[in-house]
């Protein structure tokens, strides 16, 4: 199953890309509309990119009133990513979405590096969100934690149904000439191929720590990459940065993944979930 990573596709601007996905994840929505950060907001690095969009979004009211009805017409399941600065924000957002049948799942963005306010602890936010909705809740974590598996255990205990791994890491690019930060916000979120080994480690360790369903992402570019995320423990993968260079990536990655799977005698993506752990498990037993 292939999703887009939140913030990396606007289904209304590119409906044909959204339709090539198994589900569409919205850009993170906050209680109030947000303008986002001042430009420059994106910068390429040698092996990835930085962004400092800063959660530009129309707010939950406009999302529900204006965008959701149009998103539904795409015929693709809709996941809504929600974000905020306090547990009460997340509670409010989940309450607003709980009764919308057109919303399949909610992703809690616990980890946006472009929003400076310190979030309350991940578990508290999940508890607050859980109280407001019975929809599947995916906690999206950053690898910028001393031990991401510990955070994963905490959000599981707090009532999350799954994990989205990983969000971006904080990074910096300096302008070639001035040596000043290229981004308007100085630092920004680092994504793309450079992140892959970090993301894979997070998926691998959180899968072992929790056994929860995981949406794996971070630098996925090919079917081989997708296979590795499944093997490490993801049940679903999401494409982010790759969509900018290749809007046809969902179909391509899906096809490449099927080729990789059948070369290994596996019938479907689910059969690959967690296979990196098999030998380890055997050793332990």
């Amino acid at each position: 199953m292939i999703l887009n990573a939140s913030g990396c596709l606007d289904a209304l601007a590119a409906p044909e890309v959204a339709r090539s996905l198994d589900a569409f994840v919205t850009k993170t929505v906050t209680p109030q509309p947000r303008q986002g950060n001042r430009p420059v907001r994106i910068a390429e690095t040698e092996h990835g990119m930085l962004n400092s969009i800063g959660l530009e979004n129309p707010g939950i009211e406009a999302l529900v009133a204006e965008k959701l009805p149009r998103l539904v017409e795409l015929g693709v399941p809709i996941w809504v990513s929600v974000g905020g600065f306090a547990a009460t924000d997340f509670a409010e957002l989940c309450a607003a979405l709980d009764e919308r049948d057109e919303v399949t799942a909610i992703e809690l963005n616990l980890s946006c590096p472009n929003v400076d306010e310190a979030p309350e602890s991940a578990a508290e936010i999940v508890v607050a969100a859980r109280a407001e909705t019975r929809k599947p809740l995916y906690a999206k974590l950053s690898p910028a934690a001393a031990d991401v598996a510990e955070v994963a255990r905490a959000v599981q205990a707090a009532g999350a149904d799954g994990l989205s791994l990983v969000n971006t890491m904080r990074g910096l690019v300096l302008d070639t000439h001035s040596l000043e930060p290229t981004l308007g916000t100085e630092t920004g979120g680092y994504s793309g191929p450079a992140l892959k080994p970090i993301a894979l480690a997070a998926v691998f360790r959180c899968y072992r720590a929790t056994g929860m369903p995981i949406v794996g992402m971070g630098g996925i570019t090919t079917g081989r990459d997708a296979l590795e995320f499944l093997a490490a423990g993801a049940s679903v993968v999401a494409l982010g940065t790759v969509l900018f260079a290749d809007p046809e990536a969902p179909a391509r990655v899906q096809a490449e993944l099927m080729t990789e799977l059948s070369a290994r005698g596996l019938d479907q993506p689910e059969d690959a979930c967690g296979i990196s752990h098999r030998a380890a498990a055997t050793t332990v037993a």
Partner: protein, 212 residues
């Protein structure tokens, strides 16, 4: 690939792509780089798409060194393009801002063109628009433009200070803006600019904006 003064003309096979409306752009893979680069369509000969490149950084320099026969991933046309229903068009280009105008000029039946360049070498690119009036720094396009602006509908493309100066002279001009773009199709929100107090994505609501 051919040199045109200080610039390089890149011609790719059209494949299944439409050339689109003049002023629209394509996202062009830059070999070895993660993100594609936005490029205005410059020429649309049969079966081909032509882009005029200025090598200013790693992406454009890599594109200037593409070898014949290499495959590049290109997608588009993107953005809104120029409104061509104007009565007395005048094309005003600064530097690499000449890029969209050969294709525009073809669509408009060779309207008058005013081009400014920062050196004689850059000015050689004016061969792409044989009837153009050309000025070279320290003269700026705004100088001859001041005399022509009354009687014309201006379509302009060039560096931001030039566009601001053109806007001051020609409040109804159509201006082709730039912003760093990761995707070119509305996916990343990287190109947001404030237009009349509202944030818009330049890649889908632009790159051509009415001056006003």
């Amino acid at each position: 690939m051919e040199g045109v003064g200080a610039y390089t003309l890149l011609r790719v096979e059209r494949g299944g792509l439409e050339p689109g409306v003049p002023g629209q752009f394509f996202m062009v893979e830059a070999p070895g780089r993660l993100l594609p680069r936005p490029m205005s369509l410059c020429l649309a000969p049969a079966g081909e798409l032509g882009f005029l490149l200025e090598g200013v950084g790693p992406g454009t320099r890599a594109l200037c060194e593409v070898e014949p026969g290499e495959r590049l991933y290109v997608f588009g046309p993107l953005g809104n393009g120029f409104r061509l229903d104007v009565e007395r068009p005048l094309l005003v280009g600064g530097g690499i801002g000449i890029a969209p105008f050969p294709y525009v000029a073809q669509a408009l039946g060779d309207p008058p063109v005013l081009l400014g360049f920062r050196s004689e070498r850059h000015a050689e690119a004016a061969v792409l628009l044989p009837n153009a009036a050309v000025v070279v720094e320290p003269t700026y396009v705004t100088e001859p433009l001041a005399e022509l602006v009354e009687d014309h509908d201006v379509l302009a493309c060039g560096p931001e200070p030039m566009l601001e100066a053109v806007r001051a002279l020609a409040p109804t001009a159509q201006l082709a803006w730039e912003a760093p773009m990761a995707c070119g199709y509305g996916a990343c929100y990287g190109c947001s600019v404030e237009i009349d107090g509202v944030l818009k994505r330049l890649c889908i609501d632009g790159p051509i904006l009415e001056a006003a």
